[in-house]
Symmetry: C2
Subunit: 446 residues, 2 copies
């Protein structure tokens, strides 16, 4: 890639030149797993007002209905469908995570590709290929500005998602290397989204825009719109405007050889990712102890400074619950699970959970690595039991199996009211690489 002088130029060449057959089989399978995980998340929240409100507003500004809105029984134009589906896929942050950047890669990239493919009749392989490349570009651009970018206030999944969506759409549309370069440069002028707004519905707007703007960038580049060569790394360009010490070489280092997207993880629990080891440890103790909750006198959760900073808090809302050490420990011990419903208001107010949360104490143990947790349970009879989890289930070291991802998909589908269609959708997804077009899959997700 060293012959290209600009980051966008190298990425454009990478996109145009990439062939599906050259991508390692494990990674091609990962594209299916990632899409499956994304679509399950979107199905699970189909009835959430944040999603249905976005749908209602966009419906007034949509062209011909050609693209399925997941779980809504209706279609919009490709740009509006991408907007709503991206919001749904990421609404609860229950989707995939690229840990180095904390980007959720799939949500901004998959929706415009599915919408375009449904409209234009692209094959399953074409969609998966574009999806994988889009996410790769997204994470690499994220690497270049992390961690200063997020710390400065940029919601990185939105701000980098638009590049991923543009890259994927450029590939699916068959843009030339130069057009793809322009598409990425146009995406740079559409990159937006703030961390300050994450606790509000404004987060969703940043996300939805990332998806539809990537598509818009690619379509404008196809129609002849151009961007400045160094839109990403120039002195008044994206990386400097949005990052304090950008490492632009990260974008192209080992491009096509080392795959960032191979490091994506999936969440088995609908909690903030730093709480997953806490839940794992509690599940383990629950199985070992097998006692009623009233037998538990005290629970101590030890972790590093990040865990305590994020999670040592009172629980008043669904959002609090998802990032509470106390709630997550209580869920693991009491319910033996931590699905979407376990963070709803009924769970927040559940007297048994409230009582157990009150017996949980958070404690700093700086010797524990990031992402680890040690949980100590003291029983009323004086017995004490300890469980330490260094690598949570779903982490890079302990990835979710295909069967676990399928189970998560079924749970999400049931949550959205689509239990009866879950298995057929799973079958279609596992067979997507051989599907000549994606209409059958989308019909199952309607």
């Amino acid at each position: 890639m060293s012959s290209q002088a600009y980051a966008g130029e190298a990425l454009g060449h990478f996109l145009a030149a990439s062939r599906w057959a050259d991508i390692p089989p494990a990674l091609r399978h990962e594209a299916v797993r990632s899409l499956l995980n994304h679509l399950g998340c979107a199905l699970g929240v189909a009835r959430d007002p944040a999603v249905t409100t976005a749908l209602e507003v966009m419906a007034g500004f949509s062209g011909a209905p050609v693209a399925t809105v997941i779980g809504q029984g209706r279609k919009l134009d490709a740009m509006s469908a991408a907007f709503v589906n991206c919001i749904a896929g990421n609404l609860l942050d229950y989707d995939d995570t690229h840990l180095r950047t904390v980007i959720h890669p799939a949500a901004p990239v998959a929706p415009p590709l599915l919408a375009l493919a449904e409209q234009r009749g692209h094959s399953g392989t074409e969609v998966l290929h574009a999806f994988l490349l889009g996410m790769e570009v997204e994470c690499r651009i994220g690497n270049a500005v992390s961690p200063g970018h997020y710390d400065r206030g940029w919601h990185i999944t939105s701000t980098c998602g638009v590049f991923g969506a543009a890259a994927g759409c450029a590939k699916l549309l068959g843009l030339t290397a130069t057009q793809a370069w322009h598409a990425l440069g146009i995406a740079a002028s559409q990159s937006a989204g703030l961390v300050e707004n994450l606790p509000s519905a404004a987060k969703n707007v940043g996300m939805g825009n990332a998806a539809r703007h990537g598509l818009l960038a690619a379509l404008l580049a196809e129609a002849g719109y151009e961007a400045t060569p160094a839109a990403i790394e120039g002195p008044l360009g994206w990386a400097r405007a949005m990052g304090d010490m950008p490492q632009v070489a990260e974008i192209t280092s080992g491009l096509g050889e080392r795959w960032e997207i191979a490091r994506t993880t999936y969440k088995p629990y609908s909690a903030g990712i730093v709480f997953h080891a806490v839940i794992d440890a509690c599940l383990q103790l629950r199985a070992e102890l097998d006692v009623p909750p009233e037998a538990i006198a005290a629970v101590t959760v030890a972790g590093d400074a990040l865990l305590l900073a994020r999670g040592d808090r009172a629980v008043r809302t669904e959002r609090d619950a998802r990032v509470s050490i106390h709630h997550n420990a209580a869920l693991g011990l009491l319910r033996g699970r931590a699905g979407v419903a376990d963070f709803g208001m009924p769970a927040v107010l559940d007297p048994a959970l409230v009582a157990l949360r009150a017996r949980v104490t958070a404690a700093l143990d700086a010797s524990l690595p990031r992402g680890a947790a040690r949980v100590t349970v003291r029983l009323a009879d004086g017995r004490e039991r300890v469980a330490t989890v260094l690598q949570a289930r779903g982490s890079e070291a302990r990835p979710m199996s295909d069967a676990e991802l399928a189970a998560k998909f079924r749970d999400n589908a049931a949550l959205g009211g689509f239990a009866d269609r879950a298995d057929a959708a799973l079958d279609a997804l596992w067979a997507l690489e051989t599907a000549p077009e994606i209409g059958g899959l989308m019909a199952l997700l309607t």
Copy 2:
């Protein structure tokens, strides 16, 4: 305004509480002048491929055609029409300028308001009122982050334009103070656009998005979407992410008493604003000397460091011409004008202009204030004549008259091929404050 703790809250209250009758008459008239200037600029470039390409791409993603696309003989939905019309209004930077921030205030704000009003039947006064308030919010937010924001790479008309559009749309839709506050917070998560991309069509995308996203923000807030209270000034919010030393108090200081938008200026010439004094001085010398161009032996243009940094350059493209000391001086002396056509490729290549440009020398005179110029012409017979312009025509000190703005509008209309409708459109614009709806005006601009 001191009872509101947040910047967005104060602005939301200001928007909801403002009454047209309370606004000084001179400022109300300024809203008409600003709209007239904006619409003329949009008419002038109606046939530019940058505008027609944007129209073609958006036409595939537009709902019912209810809003006029200026000079195109067709309509789109309000969001798409706002996108295209904003691009047209600002395409050549020939529109209005708020000098303190270098924001072009009208282009992102007017298009969504005209589109909404055309669709929903709002009156001329309602449009003008929302337009004025939107631009005021836009410039005040720009003040808070200037000049560091632009220097960091942010195209301030795009990044602040989305707030102006959101504010204007919030007013026109009759949102409550709280809803308007949310609309501004949602706008913060949509703020984007890079200086690096200004020499390319990607600039247009940032502009068009500012206009349609302001509308989207207001519609989402109307439908119940919320933002974080401190989306603008919070620790991980807009001002800190996008500005190095934001002065948030500038947003609300004297709100409703001191009007930033009263300081908007309009351009009599289609050149970068720092070249206007050069043109003025040359026009003056041209009238005094009344000699053929071959009688001019040498021209020296003196100005401050900014003028020289921006304008002492070779002229190869239309863009070069618009920011060239040599071209602008030659135009003033040779053609006695500096309209849009005087910066096209035929002018760049015109042998008479090429020859005269070669006789122009730029010279630093640090004693001259910003925006001033001194031009010395030496004739072949040895005579020398000097003209110094401290305040260019169109500056705050020498504003363009209504008649001059009308003449500029007619020139622009003729450029776009609409000379026959210019006077009727001008009549409708000057009478807009009494128009019960704006359909008649929009029909003249189709």
